[in-house]
């Protein structure tokens, strides 16, 4: 569960995998590379696109910065 001003998001599955790696240390590139490896059977470009879109949404809500 991520709590932020006036809201909350319950994260499951891939969203959770992504956010758990947003630790202030990993770069965007490293995060993508790790998940591309972990989900090796999925098209790497699709993974990059999906994660970019997801993080952009969270940045708009000011939940992450990258």
């Amino acid at each position: 569960m991520v709590l932020y001003p006036e809201g909350a998001i319950k994260l499951h599955g891939t969203g959770r995998e992504v956010l758990e790696r947003c630790d202030g240390q990993r770069t965007f590139g490293e995060l993508i590379a790790e998940l591309q490896k972990e989900f090796g059977t999925t098209d790497p470009e699709k993974i990059r696109g999906d994660i970019s879109g997801f993080l952009e949404q969270l940045q708009r809500r000011r939940i992450v910065d990258y």
Binding site: L3, Y4, P5, E6, E56, R60, R62
Partner: protein, 351 residues
């Protein structure tokens, strides 16, 4: 010197128990609001207790009375989010509407807040007197560098209802404002989140007040009385429980006050058979009572409400002498709805 009534206020220990009960009940956020929460000398202790109970802590304040030392203590207690209200970008106007010379202090305070790792929201209350320079106000807020800004139209309860004629914007002001906010939202995406609240008098359907009665929010006042919303005490034939007498869980689940407008069984027509009833819950109970005299009535802000004429006449008054076309205004109203649909939020502490 002591303010009257402070003896009836909950003690630090009683509040700690309330936060623990709230956390166990599955509540997620604790908003410290007012009045002015800084008036509690033990505020830091209360924030700490709420955090320990697993709640996300939010301080909603004018900032008056918050010095560097106290700010540092609150941050040390782990405050998650701080929200400062601004009345205007222009110092003179801001101090005039606030009735206090607070503007310069709020700017200094905003700078101090940014030194800490905390979510920071600026709340800007807009109305007839300041909407014409909304762009300037947004530019001013950008210099304060918050994570989020709430641009909230004054809502007409309490004193704002008594002063409605002076505060209610014209249709032209509202439409321009919505366009300005939409532009700013685009420009600032990723840097600053904007939540805007349009005035329900100009909306086609009423606001989903509180996200539904007894669905999301409990308001506990300084003496421990538990209300389903901030204004609920205006409603007739209501009695409210106190955390000193009953567990919070019982109040939430069983009490008559929380049951009264929960769900749909209390609804009258046209709400009862309306497709929108699950979206807006018939609007605001307090506004329904204040404007129609009946707490169960459809919120008059709704265009389908039997008492919608009271809203229409307030709007006519507010727009008298402006060049707004009546009757043919339908198309611009639809545009307003479309533009603002994504911006619809309801501020949980209408003031």
């Amino acid at each position: 010197m002591q303010l009257a009534g402070t003896q009836s206020e909950l003690s630090s220990g009683e509040w700690t128990s309330v936060f623990q009960q709230a956390g166990q009940l599955g509540m997620l956020h604790a908003h410290f609001t007012g009045g002015e929460p800084l008036a509690r000398m033990d505020l830091t202790e209360l924030v700490s207790a709420a955090r320990t109970a697993g709640l996300y802590t939010n301080l909603i304040t004018s900032g008056v009375g918050l010095n560097d030392q106290r700010l540092a203590a609150l941050m040390g207690a782990g405050l998650d989010h701080i929200q400062i209200s601004f009345q205007d970008s222009r110092e003179e106007a801001a101090n005039w509407i606030a009735g206090a010379k607070a503007h310069a202090h709020k700017i200094e305070l905003s700078q101090a807040i940014r030194k800490y790792k905390v979510a920071f929201t600026v709340n800007l209350v807009v109305h007839r007197q300041n909407l014409d320079h909304l762009e300037e106000m947004i530019a001013f807020i950008e210099t304060l560098n918050p994570d989020r800004v709430e641009i909230a139209h004054a809502q007409y309860y309490g004193w704002a209802l008594a002063n409605r004629a002076a505060l209610m914007p014209t249709r032209e002001q509202v439409e321009k404002g919505v366009a300005i906010v939409a532009e700013a939202e685009k420009r600032l995406a990723g840097r600053m989140r904007i939540d805007a609240v349009i005035p329900d008098y100009y909306a086609k359907y009423p606001k989903a007040c509180m996200g539904g009665w007894g669905q999301r929010l409990m308001l506990i006042n300084p003496s421990g009385k538990v209300l389903p919303c901030h204004a609920a005490e205006v409603l007739p034939q209501m009695s409210f429980e106190n955390v000193r007498d009953r567990p919070l869980q019982w109040i939430w689940e069983e009490s008559e006050s929380f049951q009264r407008f929960r769900g749909e069984s209390w609804m009258a027509e046209p709400c009862r058979s309306c497709d929108h009833r699950a979206e807006d819950f018939g609007g605001c109970r307090c506004q329904a009572f204040l404007l129609s005299g009946e707490a169960e009535a459809t919120d008059p802000a709704c265009s389908l409400a039997p008492k919608h004429s009271v809203i229409e006449s307030a709007l006519r008054e507010s727009n008298a002498g402006t060049s707004v076309k009546q009757g043919t205004g339908g198309s611009s109203f639809v545009q307003l709805q479309q533009q603002s649909a994504a911006l619809w939020t309801y501020r949980t502490n209408p003031e």
